[in-house]
């Protein structure tokens, strides 16, 4: 069976982001970009399923500008068989991404789609659930463990207060949480090989989708800063401050 993995290119999680002074967004010029960390985990899971002989083909897809080719090259180096760029330079919101992915999935007919649980730029945590709704498939978000046996997926999810296990017959949408696996690094020889492989390319229009944003971002601003605190010199001073100044104990 085929699996599709959706990868988003985002500002690297180590970068301290800067809000643009005109309030239109976050500075991305000359900023290090990477694959969304949760998507690395989703991709790793797909590659492991292939190595286990459960999956025959891993197709990685990303939506965005030409610049997103770099994450697709990384995906090839890590073990994706085919990679596809759905190219657009409009501001992508989760519903548009899910709508494009739906059309892509209908074209490719995978039995499993893996996504990250959230993109660390918009922190939306929406796309996988929306894709599941649009396709009328089962969904298992925040996956901690995934097992596929025959026509069934058993997914353990991270929930508030513990873990929950669901079972669904395929096809299913799974979104990866942090502890599903530890992604491998691409090796240098594989990175070199990946450079020679082709990146397929589509336009949203080829899929019959208009990806225009539906929500309007009016302003992006810095969060309020906390007033500076103090350094106390001893546990005794800490207790005194918490009792008499902050009055929280």
């Amino acid at each position: 069976m085929k699996v599709v993995v959706a990868l988003k290119r985002v500002i690297d999680y180590n970068v301290k982001i800067r809000v643009k002074t005109d309030g239109t967004g976050v500075e991305t010029a000359n900023v290090k970009m990477s694959m969304n960390p949760f998507d690395e985990i989703a991709l790793e899971e797909a590659v492991r399923l292939k190595e286990a002989g459960i999956v025959s083909e891993v197709i990685a897809v990303t939506l965005g500008t030409q610049a997103c080719q770099d994450v697709l090259r990384t995906a090839l180096a890590v073990g994706a068989d085919r990679v596809v760029l759905i190219e657009t330079d409009v501001e992508l919101q989760p519903l548009a991404v899910a709508t494009c992915l739906k059309a892509f999935v209908q074209k490719e007919q995978p039995r499993l789609v893996l996504l990250g649980k959230q993109a660390i730029d918009d922190d939306a945590n929406q796309t996988g659930q929306m894709l599941a709704a649009l396709l009328g498939w089962a969904q298992a978000t925040n996956a901690f463990k995934l097992e596929i046996a025959g026509d069934h997926a058993t997914v353990t999810r991270e929930i508030d207060g513990g873990l929950e296990t669901l079972e669904a017959s395929l096809p299913v949408i799974v979104t990866a949480d942090l502890r599903l696996n530890t992604p491998r690094y691409a090796t240098l020889p594989n990175i070199m090989k990946a450079k020679k492989k082709t990146i397929e390319s589509l336009l949203p229009a080829d899929l019959g989708v208009d990806p225009s944003p539906r929500l309007k971002t009016l302003l992006v601003s810095d969060p309020p800063v906390r007033k500076p605190g103090i350094v106390v010199n001893s546990v005794t001073e800490l207790v005194e401050k918490l009792r008499n100044e902050a009055r929280v104990i």
Partner: protein, 309 residues
């Protein structure tokens, strides 16, 4: 113009997040109905009817709502949506799982994890792990929203007198089946709602050493949390994680012990009223958000602090 709050509950009781969500719904200024979909959930529905500000409770009861699976719930809410202009749920794991599914069925772009309501159609939400705030406007025909519970003070649980209306369940879709749930049981307050939270990081070095934090937590009636590093190292269970991808907490007092203060951790706790950091590295970024910083070896400071209380 009416608002439907999707209640998070355990069939027996409402989860605290439901009260925060009702508070946010009331800010929109329209009559608020609450949906309690469950199985044998009369108690939860009854409880919802007493919440101040609630106009009516819609109660759907069927075996396939027992675990509130997103696939089952979404179909029901899609059907009910014709009668409401706004659908609103808590941005907890429950709401995050369900709400986007509902939104997509309705072909509406949702706004999730709202921190503040600016007007009827404009909302503030965090992006980049809370390192920026986005003010977002929706022009959709309906609003599908989720709110961060810690940003809305809970409405009073008692004093209301809403009617409970039984509504019909939709046919089961049975796309996925619930197998089991493994919930950590603890005598401590729930992390998300605790007045005091003490979190430990990699600096604790082992799961056993978390007992030091337990002793301190006993004194303060605190919940215990952790950084991702402490969870990944197996010191404590997953659901202790505070941060961008863990729990969001905003207690009166947050004590970070042996935690460096990565942005992903700060995202989950920096709205706490008072933050204390105990770390042996004076340059640890956690000190930048701490109201009271103590540069010390935690293995000395924690027993000393526990003894002093």
């Amino acid at each position: 113009m009416t608002t439907l709050v999707i209640a998070e509950h355990s069939n027996l009781t409402l989860r605290a997040s439901t009260l925060n969500t009702i508070a946010a719904a009331l800010q929109l200024g329209e009559p608020v109905s609450v949906l309690v979909a469950g199985y044998g959930a009369d108690m939860a529905a009854q409880e919802a009817s007493l919440v101040v500000g609630v106009h009516q409770v819609l109660h759907a009861d069927a075996p396939h709502y027992a675990e509130q699976l997103a696939e089952e719930m979404a179909v029901l809410i899609q059907k009910l949506a014709t009668d409401f202009t706004t659908l609103i749920a808590p941005a907890t794991v429950f709401g995050r799982n369900l709400l986007p599914r509902v939104a997509a069925l309705l072909d509406i772009a949702p706004i999730t994890d709202i921190l503040a309501i600016e007007s009827n159609d404009t909302f503030v939400r965090p992006i980049y792990a809370g390192n920026a705030l986005a003010k977002v406007q929706t022009l959709e025909t309906k609003k599908v929203l989720s709110v961060r519970p810690t940003s809305f003070e809970a409405t009073a649980a008692q004093g209301g007198n809403a009617s409970v209306v039984k509504i019909e369940a939709c046919a089961a879709v049975r796309l996925s089946q619930f197998k089991s749930r493994d919930l950590a049981s603890s005598d401590r307050p729930e992390l998300a709602g605790a007045r005091v939270v003490i979190s430990g990081g990699r600096g604790l070095q082992s799961g056993e050493n978390f007992q030091m934090l337990e002793a301190l937590a006993d004194k303060l009636g605190a919940a215990i949390g952790a950084s991702r590093a402490a969870v990944d190292a197996g010191y404590v269970p997953n659901d202790y994680q505070v941060g961008q991808t863990g729990k969001i907490v905003a207690p009166e007092l947050y004590i970070a012990v042996g935690i460096s203060g990565a942005v992903q951790h700060l995202a989950g706790m920096k709205d706490s009223k008072v933050i204390v950091a105990i770390n042996k590295d004076p340059d640890a970024p956690i000190f930048q958000v701490a109201d009271y910083g103590l540069v010390a070896d935690l293995f000395q400071a924690i027993p000393e602090l526990t003894a002093a209380l």
